[in-house]
């Protein structure tokens, strides 16, 4: 009965040792998806459903791209997949697309794998006639991803590294603040780890610049049926999968988000350890 396996057309390692690029054959999703949306994937019959942002959408080619960072069992299993392999379930596009309009100057700011989903967002803002500035950060130069891609769709790309091995030394908010000081920013969009988004939102608040953040709580169905993804924005409970994932960063209850992300820490560890043990055994015997 399952006829809707999704084929992997291309994979590449984009950052040692754990961040990979995947291009999937998903014409129906590619036709419909917009920047800012995500998919939910399930690798196999035993698999968990996990959300992944769209790092690129190509309707003509009928493909979507994902950037996956191996942080636990499912993502570690995912990044081992090769070109030609198939994924049991890919569901999407989900969530509300980023609201794209001509505003003037838009800053897209990202950290970690978050820079990847910013790529189609930046491209769309550019196409809508905005000046687009990318502010991206990482701990060190070798951890930066998507810098070249961003160069192709942004007017300027500002890089920060914690250790100063590339660009400005310091965290993203340092470079961001320099841009904000110019006083001409109309919108900031930020995708990255919760803690980074929190500090970006704190920074922009001082300059009174509207800031949209892409929240990443734990999800199950991704279509508003379970409520696992509830977040608090402006004192109201919202479902990130259907109301978001983008929300006004100045209204988000960050502590709640970060607390809820930890809900299954011990189970995740157990599952990952069990997988690694099985895996080591497989590698040995093969």
């Amino acid at each position: 009965m399952k006829s809707d396996l999704t084929k992997i057309l291309e994979t590449k390692l984009i950052r040692e040792p754990d961040v990979f690029y995947f291009k999937l054959d998903a014409p129906a999703i590619a036709r419909k998806a917009k920047p800012g949306q995500f998919v939910i994937i399930r690798l196999n019959e035993q698999g968990e459903r996990i959300p992944l942002s769209l790092a690129d959408i190509n309707p003509d080619e009928g493909t979507i791209s994902l950037i996956v960072m191996a942080v636990g069992k499912t993502t570690a299993e995912f990044v081992e997949l090769k070109t030609g392999d198939e994924i049991s379930d890919v569901c999407g596009p989900l969530g509300q697309p980023t609201h794209i309009e001509k505003l003037g100057k838009v800053i897209v700011s990202g950290g970690g794998f978050g820079v990847a989903p910013l790529f189609p967002i930046a491209r769309a803002f550019k196409a809508a006639g905005n000046e687009v500035v990318c502010v991206m950060g990482a701990r060190s130069a070798d951890l930066l991803i998507y810098e070249d891609e961003m160069q192709t769709v942004c007017d300027r790309v500002l890089v920060t590294t914690d250790d100063g091995s590339k660009g400005t030394k310091g965290v993203v908010t340092v470079a961001l603040e320099e841009e904000l000081k110019k006083g001409d920013t109309d919108l900031v969009i930020c995708v990255g780890p919760a803690i980074m988004m929190k500090f970006v939102a704190f920074t922009t608040k001082n300059y009174n610049v509207k800031t949209m953040v892409s929240l990443n709580p734990i999800m199950v169905d991704g279509s508003g049926m379970c409520g696992a993804c509830r977040v608090s924005v402006g004192g109201e409970t919202k479902f990130a999968c259907t109301d978001g994932p983008e929300f006004d960063g100045h209204q988000v209850d960050w502590d709640l988000l970060m607390s809820r992300q930890q809900m299954y820490l011990s189970e995740e560890k157990e599952s990952f350890e069990a997988w690694k043990a099985r895996h080591a055994h497989l590698l040995e015997t093969s």
Partner: protein, 483 residues
């Protein structure tokens, strides 16, 4: 033969159904009710007096020819009996297990006037299970292709029934389902111990046998809209259910450890979290679990919590025993499994520590004057607040209409709660060629009512597609549009 039976003395009590021992079953997910043996089924079937004007049929939303099938059971023609049921009900193994028979077919059974009614549901289950174990599945007849196409949104009982009927009438049917497996609530909601998922899968496989194409991972309103479906298909039926979970809006409801019943049951049933880490999806197994609510969903959640390993699983319900909306059988099973009931009790807040649930604060209630629903309204007793220490809370206080489909469809009339307005007899909505039925129209109801709605809509869709004359009915849309 029927005459002779009528003269015989009636057996007052129904044949009991064997069940798993309550002490053992609290720690496994196997089915609680084991079903009749052939001897027990024959014994129970004998209690039916084959009424000339059977009342029982009137209580069945899909009109199963109850007397006829029971007579075939009496004659030991089990294949004949199941074929008879399948003329009107494509999910007999499901309905025999989960229909609230006491409010439907069995409520009207003539024998029930003086004695216990004939156990129609148990007999229905028996023949359905018999077919699975012994019978040759008879393939339903499919009419010659009409060349017409129909899209069905959602693969719950409403969608599945509509799809099956339309396919048998010769239309090309495609079902679009948001989740990765078809079945709706039968799959993600109702637990394994009441309805084994292998049965749901088998009954749904009948659809594929009929040539129905099931597209999973297809969220209508996101991957495509109903308007887009109308460009590719001749008609659309919406059976997307009432899957939006309600929360109470009390303090602490977003703490770690607080679930909606939908999430708790989906993780367990659909994602098989009870078999973690073999299956990847985790669930918090609380030592002490409070389930807020008193319906079937609450009973399913609390009994699931027990099976996942809770030491104490507690129902917190604001009215009294008499008002519990769950089926009597489910409440009885819960009592047998030593579920604790805190009745006339309402949560006021969830108390946390370091982001995790620690207790639930409740207030005692008393019943006051009857409200609009005719039930006595629970009123809090001042100063009666107390805490129940728990580490998992499951909110099971009902569901609403998921807005994805209604809001992405142009000119579709909705009622004030966001459910789709559709004619009860035909399923027609305010849009020509767009039909709806099941929980997305009525709000959360029952499996068999959803199936009934799917069947009625299929009938009218067929008429619409074949250009047959309209029967004399006013559609909801016409009624609404009248000045």
């Amino acid at each position: 033969m029927a005459e002779e039976r009528k003269r015989r003395k009636l057996i007052p009590n129904r044949t009991p159904i064997p069940e798993q021992d309550p002490k053992k079953r609290g720690s496994n997910f196997k089915e609680v009710s084991l079903g009749y043996t052939t001897e027990q089924a024959l014994e129970e079937a004998e209690r039916c007096i084959r009424c000339a004007k059977p009342q029982c049929v009137k209580g069945c939303p899909v009109g199963v020819q109850i007397g006829d099938f029971i007579e075939l059971v009496q004659e030991k023609n089990f294949q004949g009996a199941i074929d008879k049921i399948k003329e009107t009900n494509i999910l007999p193994a499901v309905c025999g297990r989960v229909c609230p028979q006491e409010d439907q077919c069995e409520k009207l059974c003539v024998v029930g006037k003086k004695f216990e009614p004939v156990a129609i549901g148990r007999l229905e289950r028996f023949v359905a299970d018999w077919e699975r174990d012994h019978g040759q599945k008879t393939k339903p007849k499919v009419a010659k292709s009409t060349g017409k196409t129909v899209a069905i949104v959602g693969s719950g009982p409403a969608g599945v029934t509509a799809a099956s009927d339309l396919a048998q009438m010769g239309h090309k049917v495609t079902v679009f389902e948001a989740l990765h497996e078809p079945g709706g609530v039968l799959l993600y909601g109702i637990p394994e111990f009441r309805l084994p998922k292998s049965i749901v899968a088998e009954e749904i496989a009948c659809l594929t046998d009929l040539g129905v194409d099931i597209q999973t991972n297809a969220v209508v309103g996101k991957l495509m809209t109903v308007d887009e479906l109308m460009e590719d298909f001749d008609a659309v039926f919406i059976g997307s259910g009432a899957g939006l979970p309600n929360f109470m809006g009390i303090d602490g409801e977003n703490l770690n450890g607080v679930y909606s019943a939908n999430e708790f049951l989906t993780r367990t049933n659909l994602m098989k979290a009870y078999d973690f880490p073999k299956f990847d999806t985790p669930i918090k197994v609380g030592d002490r679990v409070a389930v807020v609510g008193g319906g079937n969903v609450a009973m399913d959640s609390v009994r699931t919590a027990l099976r996942l390993g809770a030491e104490e699983a507690i129902i917190v319900y604001r009215r009294s025993d008499a008002e519990l909306p769950a089926r009597a059988e489910e409440v009885h099973h819960a009592h047998e499994e030593a579920i604790r009931f805190e009745l006339l009790t309402s949560p006021t807040k969830v108390i946390g520590e370091d982001g995790w649930v620690k207790a639930i604060e409740c207030v005692r209630m008393e019943l006051g004057e009857p409200d609009d629903s005719g039930r006595r309204r629970p009123v809090p007793i001042k100063g009666s607040e107390f805490q129940i220490p728990v580490n998992v809370v499951v909110m099971s206080i009902g569901t609403g209409a998921n807005p994805l489909v209604p809001q992405s469809t142009k000119n579709l009339d909705l009622n004030k709660w966001g459910y789709i307005v559709a004619d009860e007899e035909t399923g027609r909505t305010s849009r020509e060629g767009v039909y709806a039925g099941g929980d997305i129209v009525t709000g959360s109801a029952t499996v068999i009512l959803a199936m009934g709605a799917g069947r009625k809509a299929a009938g009218d869709i067929h008429r619409y597609l074949m250009g047959e004359p309209e029967p004399e009915v006013e559609t909801a849309a016409e009624v609404k549009n009248q000045p």
